[in-house]
Assembly symmetry: C2
Homo-oligomer: 404 residues x 2
């Protein structure tokens, strides 16, 4: 990576330039290097923030893109500078981890529409000098992937050894495989689906309405007006958080346990531990996430329908793919249930793709992909090792074994 | 029913008196006739609003109490005066219906804490002259049933042929059977559970937080201040409504169908039919329900744990019961899943109770109990006919056959 580094904020007239902020690497694209969005809008200037782990090999064949979920970020395996907490996928990505950074060069970018450096609704609109707010065009999962592909172009990485992610990250993995089949050697969509269901859209809509009902949302212009719709955003988070856990995991973790007391208070404070847990989830979320970004990123998920541009045929989306897939779901995930993953597998099989499918036993619901679920790590290790051999890359414990 | 009728609002000094309002029958109890609540508070004066269908027989042995759900009301089989819509259980209750009002005297009362005539947070607090708001003591399912039992005392009905209801109505049915075993001949808890689960509490907490986050909630004093937390209440309703339907029913009814258009709008208006449906559900709900009542009634459900007063033993709760039970659940109900009903059945069996259990095939989720589900009607008809024979009551198409 020999790109110029610059700290100037006035980049409209510059070619794509790389900037290392105190927290993230950042590439800025000029207005001339606009991103063509699904909405038809040309977005430019724009920027993408990302983290990398490990080293790119000389052939540039060991790059792995990790795609983050709705409220995730680029800090997959490094400390999040906002929360001070370890990366959200530290168990998966790192030296000796299933995605072993001793072997692979891992790139994780903040999604388009996000709020940790990549262009999103809080970014200044060059036309007005004020934050975009709702003037940012609505973006799609495909737009997020387009932005990542542009980042790879900039980094002069032609092909990816693997793309991997869970939930909305898994949607991006599928989109990558469908729109850039020649660039993706292996794909691991976890706890994902080929389209967002009606129930999923419904839960998202509740969250968006909660944000937009907050008087401090100010039609999306809260930054300019010096306020923040924290209550609405917290409620959106609470509603979503319930859907990320299983009934069983809630029962095991909280049951009907009372909060710091051995009796009911006959009031509306948090009597039950699950209540104070949810309130805590809501309150801490607003410290690290932007309300308008929540609107944009949930909207992108709702719009996701992989088959749509292929006449509604999912097998057609994967036609002639040479990517090898490992599709994973979790038994207790009711938000992205196994049946949705099976639809993807069915379509891949219909397209005669190289696919393995694993439904992992876990009682921890949709969030299992973020948790310490050994069977998931073993499965991904195994799949990546096999794919590395096929790609002629050294797998952990092996010497380089060139592709025959 | 020979009780005095009065229209006076100043009833503190009167004995329990019956009032027929333009919409509902109402019984007012004086401060001397206070209701002893689980919280330890003596609530009085208080009142209970109810509807009746059919005629009480001379022996007073044909009374059926129908218990309504969270957002239900006493208008089970008659036009709701607020919405102008038919009663919420018109398919179940009426002449020739499974609960046949040609044979049974049906009583349906608005629950304690409700907002359609029974004492609730919008009722005037006699101490202040202003609506109770949060000064109303928190009430429980048991308190609701206590209030109904007091109504029956007033109506001089000693025993009930049957108690029947779905969801929170089913909780009341179980509570009736447990606390008044000698008064309940037959009990039909539908789509219910012996306790509210952690997940259920979580969804309710989201709704309550949405209401309390609305600046127009005014710490519960919105009536005095001339406003209403309609946005918060609408969001609470939207969040809850998603849980009342199954993934399958949402898929069948809405799928990813777009609203009045053949393309995405790339905006935050309702693109998908499910979004406009939910918004409509939220908006119409606020016209018929009180936000503080929503807090109180959800809290009552959260507090529900039938085994608690029996040392945590559900079989003990049903010890020596002579009530005959018909427990029903629906295959696609994920809010009150069949497993919860099975716990009740297991406990009833452990208590050597007379119980039949039917899991009804339905893809319409928790709300199935309100819908046209023929197998449910057939099951209830069959159970009630059998129970009527055992009770010596004439069943539809039969002459009186006195109990031997």
């Amino acid at each position: 990576m020999s790109a110029d580094r610059a700290n100037s904020a006035a980049t409209e007239d510059l070619k794509a330039s790389e900037v290392e902020t105190p927290s993230s690497k950042l590439v800025r694209f000029s207005a001339d290097e606009a991103l063509e969005l699904d909405s038809g809008v040309r977005l430019g200037p724009w920027q993408i923030a990302y983290e990398t782990y490990g080293e790119l090999n000389a052939d540039k064949t060991n790059a792995v893109v990790v795609c983050h979920a709705l409220t995730g970020d680029q800090y997959a395996a490094s400390t999040n500078p906002v929360t001070g907490k370890p990366g959200w996928w530290s168990l998966m990505v790192g030296p000796g981890r299933p995605i072993d950074t001793n072997h692979y060069f891992v790139i994780c970018a903040n999604v388009l529409g996000g709020c940790l450096g990549t262009t999103g609704p809080a970014t200044l609109n060059p036309l007005t000098g004020a934050p975009y707010g709702l003037d940012l065009p609505v973006v799609t999962i495909r737009d997020m992937v387009r932005a990542q592909a542009r980042l790879l172009d900039h980094l002069e990485i032609e092909t990816l050894f693997a793309v991997i992610g869970g939930s909305m990250g898994g949607m991006q993995v599928l989109q990558w495989a469908v729109n850039y089949p020649e660039r993706v050697f292996a794909a691991v969509p976890i706890a994902a689906a080929a389209r967002h269901t009606s129930q999923n859209i419904a839960f998202h809509e509740v969250g968006r309405q909660a944000i937009m009902a907050d008087p401090d949302w100010r039609a999306g212009n809260y930054i300019q007006e010096g306020v923040r719709p924290t209550k609405g955003l917290a409620i959106a988070r609470m509603a979503a958080h319930v859907t990320y856990m299983s009934d069983e995991s809630l029962h095991q973790k909280f049951g009907r346990n009372l909060q710091d007391r051995d009796h009911l208070t006959f009031g509306f404070d948090a009597d039950f531990q699950i209540e104070s847990y949810l309130r805590h989830q809501g309150m801490t979320f607003v410290d690290r996430f932007d309300a308008n970004s929540y609107l944009y990123v949930t909207r992108a998920m709702d719009y996701f329908d992989l088959a749509q541009e292929f006449g509604g045929s999912l097998p057609n989306a994967f036609k002639d793919t040479r990517t090898r897939f490992c599709v994973m779901s979790f038994t207790s995930d009711w938000l992205f249930p196994t049946s949705e993953s099976r639809q993807v597998v069915k379509a891949l099989n219909a397209a005669a793709a190289n696919v393995s499918f694993v439904e992992i036993e876990s009682d921890r619901g949709h969030d299992s992909f973020l948790l310490d679920v050994p069977e998931m790590f073993q499965t991904i290790s195994g799949f990546i090792t096999g794919a590395a051999r096929a790609r002629g890359l050294p797998a952990p414990g092996e010497e380089v074994e060139p592709r025959s």
